[in-house]
Amino acid sequence: MATIEVNINLNRVEGDLEIALVLDDGVVTEARTIGTLYRGFEQIMMGRAPRDALVITPRVCGICGTAHLYSAVLALEHAWRTPVPPNATRIRNLCLIAEGIQNDLRQTFLFFAPDFCHRRYSQHSWFDDAVDAFEPFRGSIYLETLAQTRKAVEIVAHFGGQWPHSSYMIPGGVTTPADLRRLLACRSVLDEIQRWYERRVIGASLDDWLALEDAERYFAWLDTPAHAGSALGLMSRAARSLGLHLCASGTPHMLSYGAWCDPDRWSAPHDARVLPGGFYDGGSGTVGPYDQQLINEHVRHSWFRPYDGGRHPWNGETVPDFQPNSDRYTWAKAPRYGDKVVQTGPLAELLIGGDALIASLHQAEGGSAWLRQFARVRRIAVELKQARLILDELTANLHEPHILNPAKTQETDGEGYGLIMAARGALGHWLKIKDGVIEKYQIITPTAWNASPRDSGGLPGHWEQSLVGLSVQDPDDPVEIGHVIRSHDPCLVCTVHVLNTGTRLRFGP
């Protein structure tokens, strides 16, 4: 066979994030997060039938479409005051968990951990173990993660027919009920992931791991062979030996909407969550309830039609207005909670939700790149446990309805919001319906919170803050930046641009 020479480059045109860094004597003194793509989903939604949100918004993201679908359906149900039967909420939660487990495992072991195989670390005692476990396409944990995560979203396919971009949640419930065959199939998927997670990721049973409640005991446990040899133990040893537990905390304030609607205490006017949501005030170190009215978005440094200060999403707008050669630098808005910059994600979810180990580690060492990543792996255990409970509840209540179809007359004009915890953190959809069509639609994604630019007051966003002060040994190969960027689980490929040297490096999520 003749050799064919073609320049094969199958990269897709995709929206990117860029981070522009200024280094001063090897230390980051300034960081700007640049959203290089105008997306415009909010503009697409205007004037459409409200239920179109269930088909269009899951396309916002190819990784977390279930989360967008869930937010969209909650926003409609909130506007229409639609009752939702408990089984529907259980099925929605189960699917969201499946998507979350896939994301958390892939993000940790396909994207974050492989950075420890960087040749610069070859003198470290853990290096050979890291290469054996995490090297892309070769490492044992890397390969096992690929194989295990293929199965997780089969759960979504059982109820939604497909993953990603499915539209099976509709106002009043879901389109497909649970039956014994589906539950059995879901149980088998979860059982296999759990066995692997216990054996390979944490080196302990799920119950023992979840019972571990304070930092001291975790550090002692980290020294035991079972955990030290596990994937999480190895990742923790490597990350901590590089000081990732002491840096890149970013903003101290955190926001969680609470994980998983409580099936029995859900649908308007109730808003109970299995893991409570709230706002963690990094100044006082206290958790309190959050008020969605305090959420607002600024465009002072963004390429949108200018307005003063911040606007609540119900009054928000997303009108593109590219202004090059100004101090505006991104297609992302700057969401704020009151006047505070917040971070969101698994760390916020578990800290605010009351996970004792995360709270203890946070108290002992503060937030950090390592703790964000550690919390992501910890959350998988919480998700697996919750998923098992959901399957038990569905089995015990098989005869109950999966949908209460609202009468057409209930689909009135009004306003609503749907707030959930997606894999990457707090996700919200806000809408206003007028004359039977969508008048306004606003989406604030987790990455919008975390990767936000400066606001009207000039306050940098969470990532921007987390990078300042970081020492970079080699500006042409800033592996330190990679650890921090990936610990935020960016939802887009992120290009880091070192302004002083012109170096450009791309980091995947």
Binding site: L10, F137, Y142, L143, P164, L492
Partner: protein
Amino acid sequence: MSNRQLCHIVCFGNPLHGDDGFGPAVYQRLAALPLPDNVRVFDAGTPGLAALALFQGCHEVMIVDAVASGGIPGKLSRLSPNVVTAEITLPGHGIGVGYLLKAVAALPDCPRIEIIAAEILGAAPFRPGLSKPVRQAVDDAFVLLEKYAEQVSRQ
């Protein structure tokens, strides 16, 4: 279990981006055919690792995709997956078929894979529509895959 050969034809690409719509255009033509029941055709879009599932439960996968031009736009090639290099970018939303193929190859139940690739004239972002040479390549690929499906049905 039957020993019958199961084949997936997996078409990649984004029809909004000029000639990158080659794969989806071939899909449209194939999907209109009454294909044998051991051949399944998929419009995969640009999914990255989400497409891993399309490489499971079958013996062979024919990938249909666009490649950057080596000088003859519209030229159709049958390539082996090992000539496709992984992208410079790492996975996530920026993952490409190269990374996906490496991941498939690393898994124990990897099917046989062949790539039907058309060299493109251009893939300008958000300029839908195929160039003339790539439209011709769609016709050629369709004829080739129709024959292929016929062969598979006899196996």
